[in-house]
């Protein structure tokens, strides 16, 4: 858990992910925590299963970190994504971005989650009372290699 960009089978500690980016130069740390929601469009989820192509996923998370460093040079980013079976309210992903000023930390954090949903090889299988399904691209676009998420995605 001391890697900046990691895929883990263990529960994620928010404090630990934050501590990876905390620094004397930071005045702001934005954290995004993705959790398992019970109802989606009225349908009840029992639990989720996440699978990753772990080595490539960690490389892609690190690539997102590099993209962020280019766009917001004074930021520092850490991302941990969990795989395996997750229950309702469990934490699937924690993104932490520190920066001297708060604006950058918000923007970079938002950028990170959008990019994860575009380029990081992680998949989610929803288990409902009456079935199960591997969920496809939730950005509802099949283009993976756009440089940035569209304006619409970010609003």
């Amino acid at each position: 858990m001391s890697k900046l960009f990691s895929i883990t089978e263990e529960p994620i500690s928010i404090e630990q992910t934050v501590s990876l980016v905390s620094s004397r130069n930071a005045g702001a740390i934005n954290t995004f925590i993705g959790t398992v929601r019970e109802f989606t469009k009225g349908k009840r989820t029992l639990y989720l299963e996440y699978q990753a192509y772990a080595a490539m996923a960690e490389a892609k998370l690190a690539e997102i970190g590099q993209e962020i460093n280019q766009k917001w040079p004074e930021t520092k980013t850490a991302i941990t994504h969990r795989v395996g079976k997750l229950d309702i309210e469990d934490i699937a992903v924690v993104i932490a971005v520190s920066s001297p000023h708060r604006g950058d930390s918000y923007e970079a954090s938002r950028y990170a989650i959008e990019r994860i949903k575009e380029i990081v090889p992680i998949w989610k299988k929803e288990h409902w009372e009456d079935g199960e399904e591997w969920i496809g691209n939730q950005l509802e676009t099949k283009s993976y290699r756009k440089g940035t998420p569209s304006e619409e995605d970010l609003i």
Binding site: M56, H81, V93, I116, V120, K124
Partner: protein, 77 residues
């Protein structure tokens, strides 16, 4: 020899996580077509392909020992 990895719905459909196959010299497109037919994986067309953990274009050519992975639309986060 090449290792070919399946994930998510493709893995379930193929019934295995990976196969070993010599596809060096073939393009990504050719490998997709072959695997789609051989394993009944029509959905492979909606997938991206990675060669050695990097996204590849359909006309990229597989080299000896390359690891190929089919990447269905991702849904992490």
């Amino acid at each position: 020899m090449n290792k070919i990895l399946f994930f998510a719905a493709l893995q379930e459909k193929a019934g295995k996580e990976s196969i070993e196959l010599d596809v060096s010299g073939k393009s990504v497109k050719q490998v997709k077509e072959f695997v789609a037919q051989e394993y009944g994986l029509a959905k492979i067309n909606e997938s991206m392909t990675a060669i050695n953990e990097e996204f590849a274009a359909s006309d990229d050519v597989i080299q000896e020992n390359d690891v190929i992975a089919f990447i269905p639309p991702v849904s992490g986060g």
